[in-house]
Every structure is written in C-alpha cells, then in structure tokens.
Amino acid sequence: MRLNTNETDRPAGGEAPPRNFLITKLEDMVAWGRKNSLWPLNFGLSCCYIEMAASITSRHDIARFGSEVLRSSPREADLMIVAGTVFVKVAPMVKRVYEQMMAPKWVISMGSCANSGGMYDIYSVVQGVDSILPVDVYVPGCPPRPEALTEGLILLQKRIAAERKPLTWITGEAEARGKELPVMREQKGWRKEATTLREPDEA
C-alpha cells in the first residue's frame, strides 16, 4: 500500500485518476497499521518468558510478523504478552503495568499458568491472568513453543485487522472489542482423529 498525493505525478490533462492512488477508509488503514506493528511489552514473569525470548531471537524471529519492537516501557507498547505465572505478590504490579499502556492495547496470555494457573493450583498463584485483566488470545502450552506463540500473534493480528476501534478515546470507547475469536480446539478437531502417530523411537 503506497500513498501518492504528489501533484507532479498526475497525468497531463488532470482528468484520469492517478495510478498510484489508493482509496480506503481511514479506519481501515489504521487497523491495517495496528495489525502489522504490534509492539510487545518486554515483560516476563516466569519460564514462559524464555520461550517468548526464543520467539524474538534468530530462529523464530517474530520480526517476520512486524512485532519485534520490544518496549520496556509500558507507555510505548500496545501488546502485553503475559508470559508466565501470575503470582499473588506480583498481580497488582501486572495490573498497574497494563493500566500504564496506552489504548488501544491487547493482551496475549501465554502458557497454562497465565491461562488458568496451570499446574500451579497453589496458594501463591492467581488462577489465570483473566482474573485481573481482559485477555484477547490464550496460547496453551507449558511453555508454549515459539511456533505456538507466533500462531497466537497471527490470530490476534487477524482480529485487529477486523476490529474497528475509534481513532481516539474522545470519539468513543477505546476498549471496544471486536467480535469473539474462534475456539481453536473446534477448528483443530481433526487432530483428535489422527490414528498414526510419529514413532518417538527415532531421532
């Protein structure tokens, strides 16, 4: 998508529309821009963060999806990847950091711990980050492989592309959400029907 409003490029006569012109609605373009430049907050809680780091570094390279600009300050980020366990002691801080992010903002809950407490049904662990903040995409796994996080990111991007949030909070609810995301378990039902599994005995 390239915008060209340069007068001199217009063909002589001024009648035919310029060839490099793109007509779109402003909000569509904004959605496209938001989708392709998600800036994640550099924010790790626990083991899952290491796999998040693996997604960012060479082999998995999240830059392919426009999401490599890791920000350490919540004010510059618009995507919070809750990577790890949400501990009771840290939950107020997670909430605070989330609140410091500017709208529009999105949340990916990465890993079983952030999704539901995972294997830690224990006194010091909040049973899922959605007890304290809204979550857009849940990525299962303990920890999810980098590929899984990437899939989660793509799902979120699809959603953002379809979502029409107002340009500023002055004109409407900044937290307006798009339509519900599909449940992947239903879409991937075919996996349950697999009858031949790869032999684990061979490397």
Partner: protein, 583 residues
C-alpha cells in the same frame, strides 16, 4: 563421608558441651545429624564454625519441618517444629545437620545472623513460611509472601490449593493498598541512620518489572549521587509454592515441578530430586541411565550458560550475542527434543532411571552439536570476553573475596571465580561423574569478569563430558528393576503381578520413611533436595536448597561502592533465575 569423621565430631561436641548436650540421629543419607537444645544452639554453631579442626565454614541451608502431623519418628525427640541447620565443611568435604526441637504454636530460636551473614534471609524465610521467630534478627519481616499475607504457608494447617481459598480478585482499593504497601520506607528495613554532615541519600526503586533484573525481582538502591551506598533486594514475586507442592504431589508426579525451579536447566533440578528419592528407596540406577542422565544434564548446563552468555553481553550493551547464543541453544534443543519430546521442561528423569531409551540416531545429533559449538564459542570469546568495553565494565567490578563468598553461602561458578575448586561433580561424584575426564575451571579475582570466564570455560568442559558419553554409552536397561522405580518397565509389568499393580495404582510408589538430602552441581551452583518421607505416597516435607537464593542475598555486598551501571553488570554476572530464588 566417613563414619570416623562423624564420630569424631560427636566427640568434639561432647567434650566441649558435655555428654548428652548433643544427641546423634541416624539418617538414610549418612549426613551426621545431631539434636541440640535451643539454649545451646548458637554456641554449638559458633564452635562448629570456628572451634573444630576442619571447620564448617558455610551455612549451607537453614529450614524447618512442621512435625505436628508426622507419625514415624519415634527415634527422635518430640517437637512441634524442628529447625534444621545444614552446615558444610570444605576442608572435610562433609556436611553436618544440627536440629533443634521447638514446642508450641509460636516457637522461636536465637538468630544466627551473628555467626553467618547468610542466616539473615533464611531466618526471614523461616518466619514467613513457618512462623518460627528468630530472636535478635535485625529485620525480621516476610520475605517470600506479601507483607499483607495471613498465616504461614508451610505449616500443615495452611491451605495448599488456591482453589480452596477465596478467589483472587483485584478491586481498585486493594490495588492501591498493595501498591502503597510497596513504597520503600527505610525505617521498615531497619535503616534509622540520619547523616549528621548534611548528606542525604536517594532511594531508587528498580523492578519488579525492569529489563535488567532478569525476571521479577525488585531492588532498592540507596544512592549518593551515582554511587551505591547500600542495596535492599526485595524478593518473593516469583514464589510458586514448590515446597508445599511436594507435600501434595506423589513422589513421581513431583518431577515436573522440579523442572520449573531453575527453569533454564530443568534436568539439573530433576537430578538431586530423583537421587534423593532413590536414596530413600534404596534404588540402584542402571549404567545406561546414569550416563544418559549425565549427558542430558550437561546439555542443559550448556543451554543455561548460553542464555546467560547472551543476556550478560546484552546487559553490557552488546545486542548481537544474544541472537547468536539463542540460536545455538535451539541446536541443543533439537537434541533434547529428539530425546525427550520436549524443549524446556522435559521431565525426562524418572525415579530409578529415565523416561525412555535414547532414540535411534541420537549419536549423530550429539556428534554434530559437539563439532558445531566449539568454533562458535571461540567466536563469542572474541566478541564478548576479549572486548575492551566488556573488560572495562567487569574487571574489578563486584568483587567477592573467598571468605565473603563462603560466609554468604555462595556456590557454583560464582564461588569458583573466587579461587576455590569446589564442584560436587568432582568432590562428591554422583551418577558416575568420577569416571569422566574434565577440569574444573577456577579464577582468582572474584570479580564479574572472573565469574563470566569460569562459565565460558565450563561450557567447553561440558562438551568434553558429552563427548565421553557419546563414545562410551553403555548398553542395557534405561530403568531400574527395583519395584519402586516409577513407572515400572513395560517388560516387567508383563511378568509380575506386583509391578502391574504399581503401574495401575494412581498413587505411585510408597517410599519408606526416613530423611535424605542429596546435593548436585547445578548450572548456578549447589542444589540440594532434602526430603522427609513419612512412609507415604508423597513426601512429608520437601526442602529445596537452591544456589540463587544466597547469591542474591550477597548482591548488596557486591555492589556497594559501585555505580548504577555497574550494578547491572554485576547482576548479569551472577547468573540467577528468579524461579531458583523464590521457588
């Protein structure tokens, strides 16, 4: 560990404190264990630290057991709570356990902070987790749980599951309250100093969310300009209740939880745990499993050190190395995944062996890796260790002397950087480490650069070990035939009824009553699991002595007098993981 030495220390103690002042207790791990009354304990500790030949210079661990519901301990003095001091002597290469019996609902012990600096955090943990007060402690406040917490989680009457408790919510008032409670008030940390000369210090809060702290860790720096006058680490943000979890999971199903302690090197946590259970149960592990375990553990040591290498360089301002080392780590993972089917937390170790045999074709993967890595390490050496800026920023920065390191309970590469060759793989060989040829790198300076240097060389030594595993992998079974090995080998279940019952039972094995501790050399330092079995399907008390806990405690000592930027370099050089600190 020689029995002669044990009786020897008993004689020393008896002649100093009189017959009957200390009572020996036989344990399954043959660590000499003595009971002593609370009134005597400080003198006994002091004497053991300074008064005996081959002194016990390190307070290796300090913890407690809630004995109120324990059944099988007829041979021990009665108590409601038992405080356990675990001491270590480098000269003797021997451990010693001192136990103190306490009665009542609000027990207390005299604080040992005057004897060992490292007792400080351990005693705070004792208070936080068990409600055992340390009288005379300079700053006895909760360490792992939030200050607003009610109850002491490791007491038997404290709920274990979150789902048994009230659902966690965070209304605005509560959020504000918790945030306000985090405000640093010097007085609450035992600082009453007011400078007479008009100097005012500034307190700078760093963390818990900060890219330089390697996880959720908070530290408050007391500054005089740029210079750090003092530092106050605040931990517990990553407390995942792993020890309490051990009392609920069966012996077998606890293995995955150990993976997640030092989450960069799972199998190095599995190791002391399975070894301790095997000690309790009396299981001999077959040769192939022993060597396979060593190979797996060393691969993870490399993977862990690679993460450290990259992030350490990043802390110093180099952005490239982390991309390179993470790539190498992926290559290590391709072996790990082929062997165990998992990347980060393989839980591949089992009580009595490993989960599965090595897959066909593993040799090629390992061979490729040990050929691939050394040239890369050479390259990083040029990139990082030879770099003038790296040297300028780490040499002479954050220096620990050997005496300080021992006093603060520092182990692993951080201790070896102070010039002592102390490595459990050599000193107390487990799983057949004594049959491998490898060196223990040490350095003398004790500064950040020395710590880094030791780790870099350790990766090469690990490669040597892996190569020997590759060349000499024994054949034979990968799991013991012992009836308590879990889950039993398939072939056995086909032949004998007992084992079939064991495999069908959800509980897994019942481990005989007793106590045992096994320590191993993990990536960050000495890691020990101290297990108490009451003859049940799960442990009665699981104590995890992790290396990073005391390392972080020594952080203020290391950064006093340096500047904020140095502090980042020092933190990077210690190589800690919050899971390993808070458990």
């Amino acid at each position: 560990m020689s029995i002669a030495a044990a009786s020897n220390i008993l004689e020393d103690l008896a002649s100093r404190f009189g017959e009957g002042a200390v009572t020996p207790e036989p344990t399954l791990d043959s660590v000499p264990t003595f009971w002593t009354p609370k009134e005597n304990v400080l003198e006994v500790l002091e004497f053991l630290k300074t008064g005996v030949e081959g002194p016990y210079r390190m307070l290796y661990d300090l913890t407690a057991i809630d004995e109120r519901t324990r059944r099988k301990r007829q041979d021990q003095p009665g108590s409601d709570f038992t405080v356990v001091y675990h001491l270590l002597s480098f000269d003797r290469n021997e451990d010693l356990r001192i136990k103190v019996a306490l009665k009542g609902e609000s027990p207390s012990i005299p604080s040992a902070t005057g004897v060992w600096s490292s007792a400080n955090w351990y005693e705070r943990e004792l208070w936080d987790m068990f409600g055992v007060r340390a009288d005379g402690h300079p700053n006895l406040r909760r360490i792992l749980m939030p200050q607003s917490w009610e109850g002491h989680p490791l007491r038997k009457d404290h709920p274990a599951r979150r789902t048994e408790m009230e659902r966690y919510t965070l209304p605005l008032e509560k959020e504000v309250r918790e945030e306000t409670a985090l405000r640093f008030v010097p007085r609450e940390w035992g600082i009453y100093r007011t400078e007479g000369n008009g100097t005012e210090f500034m307190f700078l809060n760093m963390g818990p969310h900060h890219p330089g702290t390697h996880g959720i860790f908070r530290i408050i720096l007391e500054l005089d300009g740029e210079e750090i006058v003092n530092a106050f680490p605040d931990i517990g943000y990553h407390h995942r209740g792993a020890e309490k979890m051990g009392e609920r999971q069966t012996w077998h199903t606890y293995i995955p939880y150990t993976d997640r302690i030092d989450y960069l090197a799972g199998p190095l946590n599995n190791f002391p745990y399975v070894l301790a259970v095997e000690r309790l149960a009396g299981i001999e592990v077959p040769e192939r499993a022993r060597v396979a375990r060593v190979m797996f553990a060393e691969l993870f040591r490399i993977a862990s050190h690679l993460v450290w290498y990259g992030t350490f360089a990043q802390d110093l301002g180099q952005l490239t190395p982390v991309f390179l080392t993470f790539n190498d780590r992926e290559r290590a993972y391709s072996i790990i995944e082929a062997v165990s089917g998992f990347r980060m937390h393989p839980a591949w170790f089992r009580i009595g062996g490993v989960q599965s045999d090595l897959p066909k074709g593993w040799e090629k993967l390992v061979k490729d890796f040990i050929e691939y890595l050394p040239p890369r390490l050479m390259e990083y050496e040029k990139l990082v260790m030879d770099n003038a800026i790296v040297k300028a920023r780490t040499r002479g920065i954050g220096t620990l002397t050997l005496d300080q390191a021992i006093d603060w309970g520092v182990t692993g590469p951080n201790l070896r950087a102070c010039g002592i060759e102390w490595d459990f793989r050599k000193k107390r060989p487990y799983s057949g480490y004594d049959r491998f040829e490898f060196d223990i790198p040490t350095a003398g300076e004790g500064d950040s650069y020395a710590r880094a240097l030791v780790r870099v060389e350790e990766m090469r030594q690990s490669l040597r070990i892996i190569e020997q595993c590759l060349d000499n992998m024994p054949s034979g079974p990968y799991k013991s035939d012992h009836p308590l090995a879990t889950p039993p080998r398939k072939e056995r279940t086909m032949r004998d009824m007992e084992t079939l019952i064991a495999i069908l039972s959800v509980l897994g094995p019942v481990v005989p009553a007793g106590e045992a501790a096994v320590g191993t050399e993990a990536a960050k330092g000495n890691n020990t699991y101290y297990l108490v079995s009451d003859g049940d399907a799960s442990s009665y008390r699981t104590r995890i002595r992790t290396p990073s806990f005391p390392h972080l405690q020594a952080l203020p000592l290391m950064c006093k007098g340096f500047e904020i930027a140095d502090h980042i370099a020092i933190m990077g050089s210690i190589d800690f993981v919050m899971g390993d600190v808070d458990r």
